[in-house]
């Protein structure tokens, strides 16, 4: 490989590395912005919003990533300033834990109550009664089968 070729190869590798690093940061900004609620709008994430504060938040996320902060540290940065409501999926602890588990608990209790109610009304029976056929019944079945 000529010297010129080697130089172009090295420059190419360097440029490719720069582009993929920038793309990686962009993706991580989008991921983290998707986890945060837009402070000024309703039902939108920071990623989806073009409101001034959301734009600033995205820029701040980028700065914090460039400073080497982890996703957890960045989310904590915003929780400390805005409170836990800034997270679109609040942490599973305290009152939030109750909110997370309540639908499941309600469903479980409802199923248990329904089961108990139906059992009381004898709509569900645990034992199916069986008895042997009488001779007359057996003969009738045999005759029917022969005719078929």
């Amino acid at each position: 490989m000529s010297l010129k070729g080697l130089f172009l190869f090295v420059v190419g590798i360097f440029v490719f590395g720069m582009i993929s690093a920038a793309e990686d940061i962009d993706n991580r900004v989008r991921e983290i912005a998707h986890m945060l609620r837009c402070p000024t709008c309703q039902a939108l994430s920071v990623k989806e919003s073009d409101a001034g504060l959301s734009v600033n938040m995205k820029e701040r996320i980028r700065e914090l990533l460039q400073e080497g902060k982890s996703e957890e540290e960045i989310l904590e940065f915003f929780v400390e300033r805005y409170g836990e409501w800034i997270l679109r999926s609040p942490k599973k602890e305290g009152f939030s834990l109750l909110l997370w588990t309540l639908p499941g608990l309600i469903l479980l209790v409802t199923v248990l109550l329904l089961f108990q109610y139906l059992r009381k009304k004898s709509l569900i029976t645990s034992v199916v009664e069986t008895r042997a056929l009488s001779e007359k019944e057996q003969r009738q079945i045999d005759n029917d089968l022969k005719r078929l």
Partner: protein, 175 residues
């Protein structure tokens, strides 16, 4: 008699669901109305350069009550409160209260036009391009005002145009 526990459980579950529904519809859906996470906490220090070139920092006003207002020239409610804040500054500034206005998401020209139009004379500075100060204070919209006591603790956050009564009540306690 056996029905009573089920009846109570039913009421409990229904009441829980209704409370969650109310919370979701009228409280959690308006993020700006959720109380600031920074109430009763130390105000975050910041530095800014005023529109007339003066460098200010929050720490230099330790021992004085601070009215920290976030505003923008494009904000309608900011026009409504502009003369209220200026009048309060004229009344309480000489007694030691500090008034700081931080313009966010605004152009320098538009901010200066707003300042001239409404005759604002207290400390007015733009936030930086990425809104460092407003994000540090968890600002959700403009106008938003933080009442910081003499010890540097955030006493209250006011969302929307601040009233004369709010400023009077806070500063009469502080001065």
């Amino acid at each position: 008699m056996k029905r009573k526990p089920y009846f109570l459980l039913g009421i409990f579950v229904t009441a829980g669901l209704v409370l969650i529904l109310i919370y979701g519809l009228f409280y959690a859906s308006r993020p700006g109305e959720i109380p600031s996470a920074q109430i009763s906490q130390k105000a975050k220090p910041f530095q800014a350069t005023t529109f007339d070139g003066q460098t200010i920092s929050l720490q230099q006003f330790r021992g004085q009550p601070v009215i920290l207002n976030f505003w923008a020239s494009w904000c309608v409610a900011c026009r409504r409160e502009a003369h209220i804040i200026e009048a309060a500054y004229q009344k309480y500034g000489v007694k030691g209260a500090v008034f700081i206005g931080i313009a966010i998401n605004d152009t320098r020209e538009a901010s200066l036009g707003f300042i001239r139009r409404y005759g604002k004379t207290y400390l007015l500075a733009p936030d930086n391009k990425t809104g460092t100060i407003s994000l540090d204070y968890g600002v959700t919209a403009v106008p938003e005002t933080f009442l910081i006591d003499k010890n540097g603790i955030i006493s209250e956050k006011v969302l929307g145009a601040i009233t004369k009564l709010k400023i009077d009540r806070f500063l009469l306690n502080q001065l």
